[in-house]
Amino acid sequence: MKHLLSINDLGAEGIDEVCRLADHFTEVSQRPIPKVPALRGKTVAMLFYEDSTRTRLSFEVAARRLSADVMGFSVSASSVNKGESVRDTVATVSALGPDAIVVRHRSAGVPQQTAAWTHASVINAGDGWHEHPTQALLDCYTIRDRLGSVAGRRIVIVGDIKHSRVARSCVMAFTALGAKVTLVAPPTLLPPEVGSWPVDISFSLDAVLSDCDVVYGLRVQKERQSDALLPSLREYTAQWGLTAARAARLHPDALVMHPGPVNRGVEIAPEVLDQPNATLNEQVRHGVAVRMAVLYLLLAADPDLRPEGAGA
């Protein structure tokens, strides 16, 4: 595999592979010196056109723990603000010879376009409403870690599905692994033709709460009010927020997940976030191991590279 643009690039087998590899990197992260030389001499460029603290940091830590060099590309300080096109910027970054480019952009499809404009491996770190594959991978890893497997789990994703790249990647990943996914949102926050997605739909969180293994909350942007998609955040919280009262109706082992950053008190009540079945910090921690796995798979374990000679 050359690029990671979509969860579809991996399929169930690929997701399993990433999780299996992430187990090894979790062990690496627990060593007194949590660093391996696997990607020594490789360079990973960060091309983030959109603000991101956790994803960018997570990729940087992952790259460094693999001994790769990290080439930071700060959009505000770069020629992007002088009107340079994405294509020209990609050409410039590529000329510096990175082995991988991690791309985040507010427009769907930019990582796919980038892949056509560079020789480097391209990793999608979030493109518009489209996908955020490494988030879905770390979520799969977290569920697998907590519940043993993703297969057969009933996962409720609640919130602004329509504008969520996390939702798209998670739906693909969870269903690929055999989970049963239910999307819960007001109809204005569901994507068009959602009937073509391999999911169940419910408009009521209360109706599905007591019968699930995972509640996955998505961030609700304040501007959805001005877009006339929501009357108010207060109404959203009342209908679709994971309040303490709703959380109390969950199965005791059910997980509360969120990709972060969370609007405390909007999507999830603060006291619910502090419960032991809330996995937000684990998700962040697993993000490093999972991104190490992705970088390693793309840059070190390319199965197209054949051994020169076998032997013990």
Partner: protein, 166 residues
């Protein structure tokens, strides 16, 4: 070599480890995934029976430390578990077959991440020659001259020698 010969060699190596280290004080075993793990387990059993002390036993997969990353698909095959600090310990790396020495070089590199051992020793069931690095075993089950195009596989039931199918 047959199963009995393997067992005798294992016990002999256990005695040599005790002799070299004047007992088992500070001795830990690290079996390399995947071929070295059974041998490390058997040596640990022998050490326990001889000395009445069960040495700490870890496993190590060296995939991330190899120097041929990028030359071939290199995925770790089995877990690394070293649940003890190596500072000041006498670490015995255990593997089934010693060949070019590159796996051992990777293992030495990996061990650095777990602390600073007092000494590192190497126990292998078979030394088949053809070293590419200045590495030599401290404890050997059997020296077995081979051609480069042969495959050697050592396990509890004996040693297999085969041609590489090209």
């Amino acid at each position: 070599m047959e199963a009995e010969d393997i067992k005798r060699a294992t016990w002999r190596m256990a005695h040599e480890i005790i002799e070299r280290n004047h007992g088992l004080e500070g001795v830990v075993l690290v079996g390399l995934q995947t071929g070295g793990v059974w041998l490390a387990e058997d040596i640990a059993i022998a050490l326990n029976e001889i000395e009445g002390v069960e040495p700490p036993l870890g496993t190590l997969d060296v995939a991330f430390h190899r120097d041929d990353i990028g030359l071939r698909p290199l995925l770790p095959e089995a877990p690394t578990k070293i649940p003890f600090n190596l500072d000041g310990q006498a670490v015995v790396i255990v593997d089934d077959v010693l060949y070019t020495g590159r796996t051992i070089r990777a293992a030495l590199d990996a061990l650095n991440s777990y602390g600073r051992p007092r000494t590192v020793q190497l126990a292998v069931m078979v030394d088949r020659g053809h070293r590419e690095l200045p590495i030599r075993p401290d404890f050997v089950g059997k020296n077995l001259p081979t051609r480069r195009d042969e495959m050697v596989d050592a396990h509890r039931d004996g040693i297999d020698l085969g041609e590489i199918v090209k």
